[in-house]
Symmetry: C2
Subunit: 199 residues, 2 copies
DNA sequence: GTTCGCCTTGGTCAATTGCCCAAGGCGAAC
DNA sequence: GTTCGCCTTGGGCAATTGACCAAGGCGAAC
């Protein structure tokens, strides 16, 4: 086999930027948004602390980009999962299974909440997050609409909020397994247009 | 009228402690849990900075007590509101009206989320929060059970998580008014034991 | 008036913070 | 070999941090 060509300086730089973003996302969930320091990010990424401000305008810019990137990746993953579902019940099953996977102490579930809170105090972050969430919500709403769930827009919004809320409550209330809350959440999807109720 | 007696030193101390706690709760929502400093709390409470560590063992202890106190007060307020409701629908109406009142930029709604996140990293805070929430959830579940809602425990948990999630999403998605999500949330309460569905 | 207990102040310390910068490394182009 | 561009390092700075402390205020008890 031919040995891989040595990476150029620009390629190495790009790789370091990715490491910094990943380290930033990890530390946001571990310590909380406002407790992440430049030196901690650099150490986690195993680079000198000066690199943070070489690759990013500020620590805030790094955290913004790290958080939005992680949120976008997870939303994309969920959307793909959703597209393969035939019924709204099956879609819910898939969403709930991810709820079990993210136990509340993992890397990604707390990141959502941290990003929501940080968006309250950062206009740029708020608009970026709103863009991502609107896209995901419309994707989910379209899915629900095709399957004749009533008020698809509002149902999608409530469903996403409920899942986020459950993720938030889980570490404090470990009884919130998908098996426990699944039957209740399923009520959100009953009463389709093809069903009995018309009001 | 008799002039009020001058407060004793102990009474003044107690009043200062209350001011510090209120300042701490305010600053948690404004800046985020880990961005609250002793000097900021002291300045907001209009006392010298040394008083913080005179009245509290540490800044963390102050924030814990401030957050748990605020959460307890709000949960108590909601519980009282709930007791006056005759039907689960009316109870939901009352909960939703509080959702409109707390717009997401107010003092108390973000405090819940901040406390949840901080509890992830503070065992003492977690157990205190779990105690308060279990009490409130059982209160709500009992209310739902009397009114023949199925799976009252799980429904109460999902309802509380959904409300918290909606509060969290609201600043980013201003369309989440109670009028928009109310009809959807109401589905969580349909299908009582006295209703038609039996499965 | 003196003593006592509690509260209150502002100064101080070591540690940490975000950000900046001079200096150097290193492969590519020529 | 030299130059160039990009990446990388570690030190340094001013500001802020949590915590501690000596000193003083002040009403109550005696």
């Amino acid at each position: 086999m031919a040995p891989p060509p040595p990476p150029t300086a620009a390629e190495r730089g790009h790789e370091v930027r990715q490491r910094l973003l990943r380290a930033g996302a990890e530390l946001i969930t571990e310590r909380g948004w406002s407790a992440v320091s430049t030196r901690a990010v650099a150490e986690r990424a195993e680079v000198g602390q000066g690199l943070v401000h070489y690759h990013f305008a500020s620590l805030g810019a790094l955290l913004r980009q790290a958080a939005l990137g992680a949120v976008e990746a997870l939303l994309h993953e969920l959307t793909v999962l959703l597209k393969a579902a035939a019924t709204p019940q099956e879609a819910l099953e898939r969403i709930l299974s991810t709820l079990d996977a993210y136990s509340g102490t993992d890397t990604t579930s707390l990141l959502f909440t941290e990003t929501y809170l940080a968006a309250t105090r950062d206009e740029e972050l708020k608009s970026g997050l709103a863009r991502l969430l609107t896209g995901a919500r419309e994707e989910l709403a379209g899915h629900l609409r095709v399957q004749r769930v009533r008020q698809p827009q509002e149902t999608a919004a409530v469903l996403m909020a409920a899942v986020d809320g459950l993720m938030l409550h889980r570490p404090v209330s470990p009884s919130l397994s998908s098996a426990a809350v699944g039957p209740v959440l399923r009520r959100l999807l009953i009463g389709t247009n093809s069903g009995g109720e018309t009001a």
